[in-house]
């Protein structure tokens, strides 16, 4: 993306983000309080985040590959199961991938 396109992307997403937050503060509470809306919102959040995990871990352009990112994700999952804080999870995953690559794999 060119600089102009990137800036437009950043600013457009920012306006949309603030618009959603402000709308939440302004609309009558009962509009959004239905069980179906709450449930759908929760599920959409889960689906987007899981899909991003998969893309970040297995995609290389338009191919699906297994490289050092996969064991690194497993390390992150173990750290999360052990209730490690966010920053520790991220650093451990990066260290695992960096270590494997330093050893010449992935």
């Amino acid at each position: 993306m060119t600089t102009t396109v990137l800036w437009s992307t950043v600013l457009l997403a920012s306006v949309a983000s603030f618009g959603l937050k402000l709308a939440g503060h302004l609309v009558p509470e009962h509009w959004l309080a239905t069980a179906r809306v709450q449930r759908t919102s929760t599920l959409v959040t889960v689906a987007l985040l899981v899909s991003l995990v998969v893309v970040q871990t297995f995609a290389a352009g338009s191919s699906v590959v297994v490289d050092a990112r996969v064991p690194a994700l497993a390390v992150a999952a173990v750290a999360l199961a052990l209730r490690a804080p966010f920053i520790v999870v991220v650093v451990l995953a990066a260290a695992a991938a960096a270590g494997l690559r330093a050893l010449g794999w992935g």
């Binding site: 503060h25 302004l26 959409v44 959040t45 987007l48 991003l52 998969v54 338009s62 999360l80």
Partner: protein, 236 residues
């Protein structure tokens, strides 16, 4: 203010501050990953200042890094930010603000400030918790974003540092606490299948949006979940 703070208010402030420090720190990983994805330091800082929603920010740079279109990046980021609208509707009546204070509150309405606010028992503690967590995360998240962006700029090859793997770990950490419910696990499984199936055939960014589409269909059509834990067994 000469009066000492009520105990529940100072407890809310301590809780908000703790959350702010923990969350603010991982602004470092966002800053570093954003410049690795191809954003400038200024664009990275602008995202944390203006967009200010961790999941959406990571999503936007994730789509950009994968070579997705600007539209896909904005759409993914915005869909992920939709939950902030629900948070706004929850905290707004608790804060009862007007005018510019309401706009400021809206900007700092995120996972963390909402969670701290709704966890308090008195109106004063709700306000104290919301503002401490919201403003605290805002200040620290932006400061550490800048640190990460400047560090990321100086790092060189991101793969040698495992930064590409850090992005997947960041998303996993964000979704982890949301996977407790059975239906969420099912949607997570569907999201994995849909994404893996579409990565080889669809343009970058589209597999993620397709996974969101599946979740919308499931959420809109599935029967109501059993009542939450507060209901008795006889209610079901």
């Amino acid at each position: 203010m000469s009066r000492p703070l009520a105990p529940e208010v100072s407890a809310a402030v301590r809780q908000g501050a703790g959350v702010a420090v923990a969350t603010g720190l991982y602004g470092i990983s966002f800053g570093a990953l954003a410049v690795v994805a191809g954003l400038s330091v200024a664009q990275t800082a602008a995202l944390s200042l203006l967009l200010f929603s961790g999941g959406s920010q990571f999503a936007l740079i994730g789509v950009v890094a994968a070579g997705g279109s600007p539209l896909a990046a904005v759409a993914t980021s915005t869909l992920l930010g939709a939950r902030n609208m629900l948070y706004g509707a929850v905290v707004s009546p608790l804060l009862s603000l007007h005018g510019w204070r309401r706009a400021v509150a809206a900007q700092v309405t995120i996972d963390e400030s909402t969670a701290v606010a709704v966890g308090q028992r008195t109106p004063a503690a709700v306000r104290a918790g919301f503002w401490t967590a919201g403003v605290g995360v805002f200040v620290l998240w932006n400061a550490f974003t800048l640190v990460g962006a400047l560090a990321g700029d100086a790092l060189g090859d991101p793969r040698a540092w495992g930064l590409d793997a850090a992005a997947g770990a960041a998303f996993l950490a964000l979704v982890w606490p949301r996977l407790a419910e059975r239906r969420a696990q099912a949607v997570a499984g569907l999201a994995v299948v849909v994404t893996l199936a579409l990565v080889p055939v669809a343009p970058a960014g589209i597999p993620v949006l397709a996974a969101a589409g599946v979740a919308i269909v499931v959420g809109a059509t599935a029967p109501a979940a059993p009542p939450p834990a507060t209901g008795t067994e006889a209610d079901r």
